[in-house]
Symmetry: C2
Subunit: 208 residues, 2 copies
DNA sequence: CCTTCCGGCAAACAGTTGTTTACTGACTCC
DNA sequence: GGAGTCAGTAAACAACTGTTTGCCGGAAGG
């Protein structure tokens, strides 16, 4: 077998593994990981409970796998936003729009991250934290390369990046819990104004 | 019986009710509400499972009660911070210090709020959200009364208040997960710089 | 003092849980 | 084509869950 053409064996295994992940993600929309049962997941997939152990050691293990899946898709969004080279105001609009679109496209993933970031399963908490730190580093690198950051210490750039990432997560969480389109509009509007204020503070950081 | 001297009957009931709340809060340090069992709580308290129903309908009901208890203590902190009348830099230092102190004093309460804010129990999520909104309103009122907010629209003041409250919650969450005193120092330092940047943006909001 | 109230108890209920065991049968590979 | 690999199975395990029932014993209150 070649590198991208898996044998029938491995292909089937990958398939049920992803079915388990999907089922888990779906069930996690209405509960948290520490209460998600192994049998609950296998029942949805239509597979024997014992089969679970062929793919994951734990539910915590499955949770960690979901972290990668969930934040992997966000990575694309962040990179796209950072690549923007337009006016500040347009970058802000584009960012908020991108976040809104992402939440609408992958609501379960976003909800999972928001829910388990401070959830009851240590391994998953730490996986999310580590991944968000990597987001922060990535954003910091991009910010540091901009002329607006001339004269900034690396530490200050990193703290600004952290503020952006935190704000992104909070905005995404708010979108997730939004009741209707009207509330989503209100959230987007607030997020834009907050970003504007932050970027204003950024511009005057080296004053005085 | 007078209004503040409860009968022996009611006093005992209140006592076990608070024992249930305490036990729940303690158990929630290592799991989330949606996986916390009724029997688990009563076992810790040393009371029969059926006794639980004399005080709460649900675990969700107990959770909602915990929200009030947890955010009630924070209310005091926020009011104290808002009452400050010193220089901006001192207000920032005082705020971060107050948050750090509060987290050290009531770690379980703070952890509960962080964990269940986006947790799997709708009623609790909504209770926390509503209470945080009230915090936002309170902060907005205080900000609006400052001379720095002259010329600001009510909406803009409210969005700034929201930014402050979100930042407070994120900082508290970070403190909770901090490993050692060195990491706590780092978190406090970052939080201070972020608040400084935000207040810088605030000062220039009406420019241009 | 005697009745009413009521917080807590013990027991039983039917379901559910995670994990282990020995197994089957289709795919892999020489 | 025959031996070996291994994802998925069925069954059994003890332990646990939330909830209901009838009952007890001491406080409340006339």
């Amino acid at each position: 077998m070649s590198s991208n053409t898996l044998g029938v064996r491995q292909a089937q295994k990958r398939k049920t593994r992803e079915a388990l992940l999907d089922a888990g993600l779906r069930l996690l929309e209405e509960q948290s990981l520490s209460s998600l049962g192994l049998r609950e997941v296998t029942r949805v997939v239509g597979v024997a409970p014992a089969a679970f152990y062929r793919h994951f050691r734990d539910m915590a293990d499955l949770g960690v796998a979901l972290v990668g899946e969930s934040l992997g898709s966000l990575h694309v969004v962040v990179r796209a936003v950072l690549a923007e080279r337009s006016e500040a105001e347009e970058v802000i609009d584009g960012t908020v729009e991108a976040v809104a679109a992402h939440v609408e496209l992958h609501p379960a993933h976003v909800r999972f991250i928001a829910r388990e970031r401070h959830g009851g399963v240590r391994a998953v908490r730490e996986a999310i934290g580590a991944e968000l730190d990597r987001f922060g580093d990535e954003v910091a690198e991009a910010l540091g390369a901009q002329e607006l950051s001339a004269g900034w210490s690396a530490e200050d750039v990193r703290m600004l990046a952290g503020l952006y990432v935190d704000h992104l997560v909070m905005t995404a969480s708010a979108f997730i819990e939004a009741a209707g389109p009207e509330e989503r509009r209100r959230i987007a509007d607030t997020a834009r104004r907050q970003l504007r204020l932050i970027s204003l503070g950024r511009r005057h950081w080296l004053d005085g």
